[in-house]
Structures are given as C-alpha cells and as structure tokens.
Point group: C2
Chain length 288, copies 2
DNA sequence: CATTTTTGTGTTGCCTAGCGAAACAGCCAT
DNA sequence: ATGGCTGTTTCGCTAGGCAACACAAAAATG
C-alpha cells in the first residue's frame, strides 16, 4: 500500500516499533473493520467506529472504560470518549460508576427486534425448537452468519440445562462449531469458497489441521443432512447441526449438549435426523 | 440529573436555515434526536444518524429504501445513502431487492447480547417467567425504559397464545401500558417527574385525559404492588404489571392476555399477586 | 410501443463537523 | 508533593453533511 499514514485504524500501523501502542486491536475472535474500506468515499467511519464500540462489550466485558475501549479497538482515546458520550446521550450506553465505566443498556435491544420479527422466529420457530429441546435434552439453536461467526437468532435450552450459556445474539465461531459447518454446507459454492478463504486467512497456521475437519463436516452434511462436532468448539460439548435454507438466505439449526448428558450415538441416530426434519419443516416458514 | 431539555425540535446544524425543510422527522411514536445536542461539541452526529437508520426499521417496516428512510428520519438522501452503504458494508444491513431496499441482518442481534447477558435474563428470569405464563395463560414480559417506551428484555408467551406478537426488543408505549406505569411507580420522585413532564410534552392535548390515568396506575402500584390496564394500549388486551428494582436500575414485570381469555378479576386476584411475588424473587438476582 | 411523468438512487462543490496528536486536568497510592 | 494513571480539552487537517444536479427504472399516457 501507500505510505500515507492517514486513517484506517491501527490495523495497518506498525511502521516503527512503537512502545506504548497495542499491536493489534482485534476484538475477541473477530476481524476488525480494518482497511477494506480505506478508499471508499461513501464509507462513514464515525458510524463504523461507534458500532465497534458497542461490539466491544460482551458477556465477560459488561462494563468498559474509555481507555480499555481505546486499547481494544485501536482508536484514539478522544475519539472513544466522544463516541461513548454520544452513545450515552442516545441512551445506548450508561455510566455505571464514578470511574467512568460504560455499559450497554436495554435500548440496544430495540435494534435487533426488526430482524427477529422479519424472520418470524417467535411465530413459527420457537415452539417446535423448544419441543425438540425438551424431547432430546439438547439446547436447540437457530443461527445465521455474522462476519466469521454464527449468531443465534433463537436459542431454546431445555429447562434443566444450565451449563450452556447461549442466547439470542450470542456467537459461536464458524470454523469450529457444527452450526458454522452446516451453514457452510448450505451455501452455494462461490460464497462457501469465499468464506473458506477468509477462514483460512484468519486461522493462519492452525488451518492446516482445521480446514480438513471443516471440509469433513461439510461432507457429512452432503451425505446425511447434518454434521457432528464433538468438543472442538468447547470441551465436552457435543453438537449436531444442519443447514436451513430460507427465503432470506441460508441459516443453520443446531442441537447440542454437554458430553456427560448425551452420547455421540444418540446425537447421530436420534437428534440429527430430527434436526433435519425440523429444518425441512421450518424452511418455508422462516423469513419473508 | 439531566440538563434542561428546553427546546422544541428541529434545528440540526445550520442556524440560518430558512429553506423549506422536510416537515418533521419523527419515527413512529418516538421523539427524534432533535436539538438536545445541538451545541454539544462532543456529540458525534454521524453515529447518531446511523443508529436512527437502524431504529427506523420495525415489524411492519422490514425493508426500506433510501428515500423512505430519508423521509422518515428527516436526513438528506445522500446522507442516508452513505449510512446505509456503511451499515451494509459492516454487515448490519443487506440489500434485499433490485430496487435497493435495505433490511437489517442478524448481525444486529450481536449488539444486544451483552445486555441480556449482564442482566442474567436467561439464567434466572426466563424459567420462572415461563412457568407463570403457562400457569396463568398470560404473556409474561420483563422490560426496561428506552426513551419514552418500554423495551422487552424477555418475553415468554404461553405456548397456545399466538395473537400477541411481542418479543425481545419490542416496545410498548410508556404512558398507555401497564408496564410503563409500573416502571414509573418504581422510580424515584425526581426521575419520575422528569419523565412525566416529557410524556406530557409528547402527548400534547390528550395528556389532559391520559395523565390522570397514568397517575392512577402509579397509585395502584403504591396501594397493592401492581397496576392494571384494560384495553388502553391495545384494544381487548388486559395487562397487569409491577415494578422490579434491580441492581442495574428499575425495570418492570408484566403479564397480559387478550380480553376473551382472561377477566379483570382473575388478573387482579391471581395474576397480580403472583406477579409481585415473582418480582420480589427476581429482584436480587437480575443485573450485576 | 414510444414517450413522458414519476419515483427513486448515485454523484459533484462547498463548507461544517469530527478525527487524532499532544497538551491539560483529576484521582489514588506510596 | 510527586509520580503513575485515566479521561477530557485545544487545534490542524480531513472526512462527511447538505444542496443541487444527473441518471436509471418503473408507471402512466397517448
């Protein structure tokens, strides 16, 4: 690229061995918004940065300070300060203590409602998913892609299961989860190859071992309609998943449980087929 | 405490703006982001505008064009075009047809997860709420304030009820819903008076009749712990609600059903007390 | 069916608003 | 007080908002 230091977050920084600067501002397991839009004149950075602030929060990061946000996102502190100030003025963030820690408020939930409503999740999916969850003892989830993760649109844990903490809006990685592999299997070739390329880029060296396992999951779906992942995403969690093609695009349906409550055989012979059956039933109902 | 609102509306940036302006940019039943921050140098307008774009979508407006968004929000079309372009590049919006209609994607759900996680909704609230819902035949909801509405953090409809379409992230007006009135009753005096003032401003002439009914709801809560609203929010929907004080602030708990499935007596003698009981149980568990 | 009307999106010029580096102001702790 | 923190203010330079224009496609009209 060119030596213009101009904008483009700190992702492409690293010209000199800077002392105090955090090397890479990547959030959790996500890729930043980086340089992809560096020359896009229609791209408004202020909005992208503000949303990255909201994304920085998570289950174990419920309250963050300006400095912490600055380090996590790679933005300058004054910028973060202004963005948090704005988000607080709009009601999406609030100050939780005198040290200036910010936390998201329920107002952000309103942003998500239109999608849930458009997908008709509550209308058609929740009840049969819950039924399957209670019948099999698995947590049953419906998810779609977000960047290189899968995000749950609906999540129905069986009433007695408390160890798996997932819910609407939570994410699992695409490459190591059954849900992600099933989703990939449901895509057209072009889009799947594109995503596999990005995944390879993101996982770096470990892709050597991971890539074939992803390909195997896709092959499982092709062979019998669903795939199984045992302990790759989280230790001692076994999951089956199948793709779900809707009018609004490809999603995925998964069912999983801790290893000590379910065997791979049950997952394969009972849960998997019922999952495929449910996906077929939901397929024409979900989305517009 | 907040600063003085003290300004009506309009006036975005230019002060000599005498040209004909698009009338009023109000979204559905919300107040715009108007003037309160007109002179706040720390306020980032681009971010506020982008979030208003996301807010413009709703259950019956699942896909919107640039022109429509421009009319709804009062922003210029090129501005909206760039914001939608940005949101699409980030994955929060996608183009759904050749005419350039945009629709939100499941990616926006990730923004809401941190709050649900922080409130521990799934961990402690969902199960007992569902239990109450099945036992009483009411939809049971847990909500918090967003601007002048109440937004649901969790919503558990009984399995057989399909006419009430509410879910996580959906909103009901503060003044005409039992949930809103119960929330107001749970606040401290200063904040309650501030909100009542804004509500009076927003409802204009009809506040003459509405205000006393709101006050009556608050009085009901004071007397017996919950209040009842019959048909004011939606025709033929009866609802009881009570405040729920958590470590993260005041919320509200409500239970409601269509009029032909429940009587006011049952609501008053059975549902209301159980609601109060549940709120007391959840109070120490929800939030940090 | 071609043409005009309507509706709606994407580009320019100009000027305001916002980003970022460095300096400035609070807070605690020792 | 003196550092070592962290969050907020100047100020230059650049990105982005707004108005007007240009343009594409559906709808209306003969």
């Amino acid at each position: 690229m060119k030596g213009k230091p101009g904008r483009a977050l700190a992702v492409m920084s690293g010209r000199e061995d800077s002392t105090s600067r955090s090397a890479v501002p990547l959030l959790d397991d996500e890729e930043g918004i980086g340089a992809a839009h560096a020359e896009d004149r229609r791209f408004v950075w202020a909005l992208a940065r503000g949303l990255e602030i909201l994304r920085a929060f998570g289950p174990e990061r419920t309250a963050l300070s300006v400095g912490r946000l600055s380090a996590m996102t790679g933005m300058a502190k004054p910028t973060v300060s202004r963005l948090t100030h704005t988000l607080a003025a709009l009601g999406y963030l609030r100050v939780v203590d005198k040290r200036g820690h910010y936390a998201p408020t329920p107002a952000v939930l309103t942003l998500g409602y239109p999608v849930l409503s458009a997908l008709k999740v509550q209308d058609v999916a929740t009840a049969p998913m819950r039924e399957l969850a209670e019948a099999t003892g698995c947590l049953v989830g419906l998810g779609a892609r977000d960047r290189l993760s899968m995000v749950f649109a609906e999540c129905t844990p069986p009433s007695w299961l408390v160890t798996l903490r997932l819910g609407t809006g939570s994410r699992v990685p695409m490459a190591t989860s059954a849900l992600g592999r099933a989703f990939l299997a449901g895509l057209g070739e072009a889009e799947r190859d594109y995503l596999l390329g990005r995944l390879a880029l993101r996982h770096g060296a470990e892709w050597e071992a991971l890539g074939p396992r992803v390909a195997d999951g896709i092959e499982q779906v092709r062979a019998r309609g669903f795939c199984i992942v045992d302990g790759e995403w989280q230790r001692d969690v076994r999951t089956a998943a199948c793709p779900l093609i809707t009018a609004d695009g490809v999603m995925g349906l998964m069912a999983g449980a801790p290893g000590y409550t379910i065997t791979n055989e049950i997952l394969e012979n009972e849960v998997g087929p019922r999952l495929v059956e449910l996906a077929a039933k939901l397929s024409p109902l979900i989305g517009s």
